[in-house]
């Protein structure tokens, strides 16, 4: 399904770039990315280790709607979080006014500009329900 969407994108991008030379075609494809700011794209992706791919955490995501906006808790879903909410929370971690086990370490290393852009990035991500990956029995032929 995802593959199909990707192909659709490609076909679309091809149609829109029919008049461009080879080089232009390649450029056209990459601008179809959901995040055109490549600096923020990879910075936001580094949050995925704790908050999930594109901010869709696989844990702690039950009953998020019923939680207060005050705190969605650790490893919260960031996808679709309002810009002002995410900005305020990161700024809170940054100046120490928000309690944290680890987020102050991350927020303090970011610039205000990066915080604003991260907030814009995550607010645009689609909220998708995700669950943890299932583990398997280790096979005999593994190292």
């Amino acid at each position: 399904m995802k593959q199909f969407q990707v192909i659709c994108f490609l076909v679309l991008s091809l149609i829109t770039s029919v008049c461009l030379p080879v080089q232009g075609f390649a450029t056209e494809v990459s601008t179809f990315s959901d995040e055109q700011n490549t600096h923020i794209r990879s910075l936001a992706a580094s949050c995925a280790a704790c908050h999930g791919t594109f901010g869709n955490s696989v844990v702690n995501n039950q009953n998020i709607a019923s939680r207060s906006t005050e705190s969605k808790g650790a490893n919260a879903v960031l996808a679709g979080m309002a810009v002002t909410e995410l900005t305020e929370k990161l700024l809170g971690f940054r100046d120490g006014s928000r309690k944290a086990t680890v987020m102050h370490r991350h927020a303090k290393g970011l610039t205000i500009d990066e915080i604003n852009q991260l907030a814009a990035h995550f607010s645009k991500q689609q909220r998708i329900d995700k669950s943890p990956i299932k583990s398997e029995i280790l096979k005999a032929d593994h190292e």
Partner: protein, 434 residues
Amino acid sequence: MNNHFNHQNTHLSGFNRRDFIKATGAIGALLLSHNGFAKATKPPLGRVVVIGGGYAGATAAKYLRLWSLGAIEVVVVEPNTQFVSCPLSNLVLGGSKSINDLTFGYDALKTNHGIKWVHDKVTTIDAEAKKITLSRGELSYDRLIVAPGIDFDFASLPMLASAEAQNQIPHAWKAGWQTVNLRKQLEAMPDGGVFVMNVPKAPYRCPPGPYERVCQVASYLKTNKPKSKIVVLDANAEIISKKGLFSKAWAELYPGIIDYRPDHAISNVEVASKTVSTEFDQFKADVLNVIPPQRAGKIAQIADLTEKDYPWCEVNFLTYESKRVQNVHVIGDSVAAGLPKSAHMATNQAKICANAIVQLLAGQVPDPAPVFANTCYSYVSDKSAMHVANVYRYDEAKKIMVSAEGGGVSLSPSEKEGEYAVAWSQNIWADTLT
């Protein structure tokens, strides 16, 4: 269908082959109707081959597909059919996790992102011809990513190089059957026995890992074999990660169990009697765990990606392209850097590299100032964990990644962080493997 992919005998498992033919067919038709596009079978932005399906390689493959919106063909070459997580594998020794909690398949990653997968080993890299040789074929690439993890250097401990020796004295520093073996040996050890382990000279995979291992074994012994002792032979001058926190945890949680010896590099091992020698002393163990010195993965050595003076790979930190070989990128534990060789770090490097390769293949300029966040959690017991966390920014003058202000370690370990570390593992596994 694809003369670019000259590979006999290997199946493109995971990726739906029919869909791929359909897809390239559709694009090919469009391309052919478009003047100037002769290479209809070549994907629009080219092919990236990734050597290694660990944290670094798997993540790079996924994000290349995502960020190119499928315009880059990605082929991963990995000899194992399963992914076993090194993070949390010390808990198998402590007994609070099983190896089967840390073992995962690659199917979701392959099918979700249309990644081609070759179950094979790479034997050589021909950078001139942009081609790699596998045991059963060949693959050409536009860009190559080398992510083989670590290799053990047995030059100083040749008696441990064989599989039989490692069966007696496992390193358990790549999670898998050796981890299970070491746990079984601990279970079989009599109360009052001595567990001896070492810490190799830095840099090695997972800086806090050996000290976390000490905690896990101590935790098991304290409840199950309280008369037993642990001797830790550290080749380094002191505990090299989270020193204050580990020292405190050992003293408070496991008093009288741990005998820590800094500056004690292992010079000899007598396998049959499980006796280790250092410059100063000899220690006879009931269970012996030797973690050998480390270097960049084998294929990185073979392909001349490692330095003459030290066995790691120098890269450009904007793209992770090798400083020695063009169009070949190195990510993960093989990279020479003052950065911790951690899983989170490997995924970060993978993302910066994937980001840059998408840009490069599209004829655009990569981010000139990458930034990422890194965290390593360590468990001091079955439940309590602590972190070291830093943001790293590219330093234009030094041309390396340097830690930004505000980084540091937990004030103390806590059960809360133990829970967050589990959540970290679940998110990083899903990020890497789905």
